[in-house]
């Protein structure tokens, strides 16, 4: 009952956008476009990388890749599972390289990160998530012995 009350209270806390919000938003977008303003995606990329490190820092520990690869070549494991572990290890390594590539460098004129870079990082992050979910599923399947 309490949770239902909390949910109802949360849903009741709504605000309405100003009547002219849409017009102002469009004007801002068009104004920025006309002014030729470029967008620096550095902070967005930092956020994605930090999120991945936070989620996978345990799995991406210094020994994990080596352990995972040794585990993968163990002949007792199904070939598909080995492939997934190996793929995840590769992605973990790729993520680490991504971190190094985009690590903030203490220089005065740091170049802006482009939209293309942001999209690439975002896509790689989604792929890492997908691989990690597959790994987790197969670990569960392996644990409960389902063939």
């Amino acid at each position: 009952m309490q949770d239902q009350m909390i949910d109802n209270l949360l849903k009741r806390r709504t605000v309405e956008a100003s009547a002219d919000f849409s017009a102002r938003a469009l004007a801002r977008i068009k104004g920025s476009e006309a002014a030729g303003e470029s967008v620096d995606y550095s902070e967005s990329v930092d956020s994605i990388i930090n999120g991945n490190l936070r989620r996978y820092s345990v799995r991406a520990s210094s020994d994990f890749c080596a352990k995972a690869l040794r585990f993968a070549v163990d002949g007792e494991k199904p070939a598909l599972f080995k492939s997934i572990i190996a793929a995840f290890s590769s992605f973990a390594a790729a993520a680490a390289c991504l971190v190094v590539a985009f690590m903030p460098v203490p220089q005065v004129d740091k170049p802006a990160v482009s939209e293309e870079d942001f999209v690439q990082v975002s896509n790689l992050s989604s792929q890492i998530d997908s691989i990690a979910n597959l790994i987790a599923e197969h670990e569960v399947i392996n644990t409960i012995g389902v063939k």
Binding site: Q2, L10, R13, A17, R24, G51, R55
Partner: protein, 198 residues
């Protein structure tokens, strides 16, 4: 590619596939230069977006300002947008990044306290006043939640995202998201315990 067999509640939001293709279609039209599609997209998502931001900032004008920035970012990425996930996931992820950026720039953070006594409001005897105080107590308790807990429970309850989608928005694992939501509920339950219906 393997077919994933995952429990439905972990992947499908309560809205299910509510017009996901419509958002992808609008983004394609925006990429083709359609101002009408851009206006439709803003009109459709302005309230959910502003409400999501407002939950964290508590400042209506700031929330609208951040929402405009989010729409600008979406527009700027129109050429490279790929509908790999639900548009709401994409939109709220950008919004959360912008909220965090705003907090860093202004060093303005919502009140975060773990001391429930700071937000505890005794139950009144008058039923009408009781309603108002429940909401006041809830507002104070919500503002006192750590940002991650507040964001997680807001995305689950108000935006009706699935755990997997919330995980994507917040860049947290699904177990972390569930923990955040459980903790948020525990905290809010404690804050509202005097208003519990007997």
């Amino acid at each position: 590619m393997l077919e994933k067999q995952i429990a439905p509640q972990d992947t499908m939001s309560a809205q299910g596939n509510a017009a996901p293709d419509e958002d992808a279609r609008l983004m394609r039209e925006i990429a083709d230069g359609s101002e009408r599609a851009l206006a439709l997209l803003i009109e459709k998502w302005k309230n959910p977006l502003i409400n999501f931001i407002y939950t964290s900032t508590g400042d209506f004008q700031l929330s609208e300002d951040i929402a405009m920035t989010v729409f600008s970012r979406v527009y700027n990425a129109r050429g490279s947008y790929r509908a790999q996930a639900k548009f709401s996931t994409y939109l709220f992820k950008i919004a959360r990044n912008e909220i965090i950026n705003q907090f860093r720039k202004s060093k303005t953070r919502p009140m975060e306290t773990s001391d429930i006594e700071d937000v505890y409001v005794p139950a009144p005897k008058d039923a009408v006043a009781e309603c108002k105080d429940i909401e006041e107590a809830f507002s104070r308790a919500l503002a006192a939640l750590p940002e991650r807990q507040r964001t997680a429970i807001s995305l689950l309850v108000r935006e009706e995202l699935s755990y997997a989608e919330i995980s994507e928005v917040m860049q947290e694992s699904v177990p972390s998201v569930k923990t955040l939501i459980n903790r948020a509920r525990e905290y809010l339950r404690a804050a509202l315990k005097e208003f519990q219906t007997r």
